[in-house]
Symmetry: C2
Subunit: 275 residues, 2 copies
């Protein structure tokens, strides 16, 4: 079992986010794997690229590259062919196919996906919006939001709001408690923009006990009591029914999965592409 670590070099003339995503998704398919990631990003000179390639050769690495410079792509692909290095050129096949179909040449601007255009600033605004209108802080946000998330404590409202903000969507969220006041603005929001989040009582019970323990408190408080949780969930379910909104049980869903379902259910999918 004293195998050598597998080296994966991520080489990019931009931030290398696409290659990182691919590497993460692939590595997640293995329980125990000794992987060393080396990131060589924002490569801007051939010498820098050569240094990265020589490093990969020395480490007998797998190379995943996302480069848009024609020269860099040629240098990298030729080097890998010559030295028989396993190399994935992620951008070229798709860019070449799009150019063939559209008869338009790519700009070949490194990091174009991060260009500081209007979409980019809208995304920053969406993130600031999510922080400003998190946790029901200001119900005025409901009327400006693309999505209003409702949910009892521990249904992932905050991370979900932030994840959706990164896709250029303005999200406000409101925690639900039976004794809490429902702001009147909620009734002015189009129910098609509202998502009711729920969870399984036993999961909430477990999560909340953990949370109390983490705070150094007695785990068996009203917050984690199963009858109280059931009462909260019933209150939430009744409210969702009254509003007529989409309801999602997040019990077995990750943030990414829940976000994807929300985008589909609320017919918002286009937003997620032009961030």
């Amino acid at each position: 079992m004293s195998k050598k670590s597998i080296y994966i070099y991520i080489i990019s003339d931009s931030a290398g986010e696409t290659a990182s995503k691919l590497a993460q998704a692939s590595v997640a398919q293995y329980e125990e794997l000794d992987i060393t990631f080396i990131r060589k990003t924002f490569v801007s000179e051939t010498a820098e690229l050569m240094e990265a390639l020589e490093g990969a050769l020395a480490d007998e690495a797998i190379i995943i590259h996302t480069m848009i410079s024609k020269e860099f792509i040629q240098v990298a692909n030729a080097f890998c062919a010559e030295h028989d290095i396993f190399c994935m050129d992620l951008l070229s096949p798709l860019v070449n196919e799009i150019s063939k179909r559209s008869t338009i040449e790519p700009n070949r601007i490194a990091g174009a996906v991060h260009s500081l255009n209007q979409d980019y600033f809208n995304r920053i605004s969406a993130m600031e919006f999510a922080v400003k209108y998190d946790d029901g802080k200001d119900p005025k946000g409901f009327l400006e939001a693309d999505i209003v998330l409702l949910g009892v404590s521990r249904t992932s409202k905050t991370p979900l709001s932030l994840f959706l903000a990164n896709k250029n969507l303005k999200v406000a969220n409101l925690p639900l408690m039976p004794q809490a006041h429902i702001p009147s603005q909620l009734w002015d929001v189009d129910p098609k923009k509202i998502v009711g989040l729920t969870n399984n009582p036993d999961i909430l019970n477990k999560i909340r006990q953990e949370r109390m323990r983490a705070y150094g408190l007695n785990p068996d408080t009203a917050y984690s009591n199963i009858d109280c949780i059931n009462e909260e969930l019933k209150f939430a379910a009744d409210l969702y029914k009254k509003i007529g909104c989409v309801v999602i049980n997040v019990a077995d869903l990750s943030i990414e999965e829940t976000a994807s379902i929300i985008i589909d259910e609320l017919d918002l999918q286009d937003f997620s592409f032009f961030g």
Copy 2:
């Protein structure tokens, strides 16, 4: 110029995030392109996959797929070969190469990258941390944070904190103003965990005038006055020098680029891979 839209089908047995990233990065290389994205994600049955493939065929689409089910991959690749559809199978080459080198078989669990494991819950905690300790709300966060961001208004502190949180890093941020009090906790933080953000005065001037206009106010207030901005930037620069922290000028950088620089400078890069 009445060309047909180019259809890109993103097909995945998970959320399709890797394929989306690739599509975005490629499309960003073209100024004007009529692209229609169709997402068929969380595919769980062969019939569903066939429907997606038939749709792609009818739309003469480009297919990008990220699937881990062996059966789905075979069905998709065979269908595309038969009908001469341009198809990128993103996961297979890398997964096959990793298996070859490690002699370990992949789990082939769809969405494994989103599994609700400890890393996942840590990432959620990191997001909640970023919201809790945004905008200097509670200086106690400085001591628990992996990164403390300092910066005058409009240096991207909030979106940067959230972006880094999504990479499993706990970030607190503090806005700097000459008249503001610097919390004493800041001096107890390891300077190697602190990042001073700055920007060009003319850019801040422009952004802040815009912001005032957006609020329906006179754009020429002290907030946007160039002398005041220079004074703020000098105050920040002096503080950064006193602390001895990394300084980053975000003027020409996107959030992704700034985050990547921070991860490299603070030697945190491993965190970004196991989210």
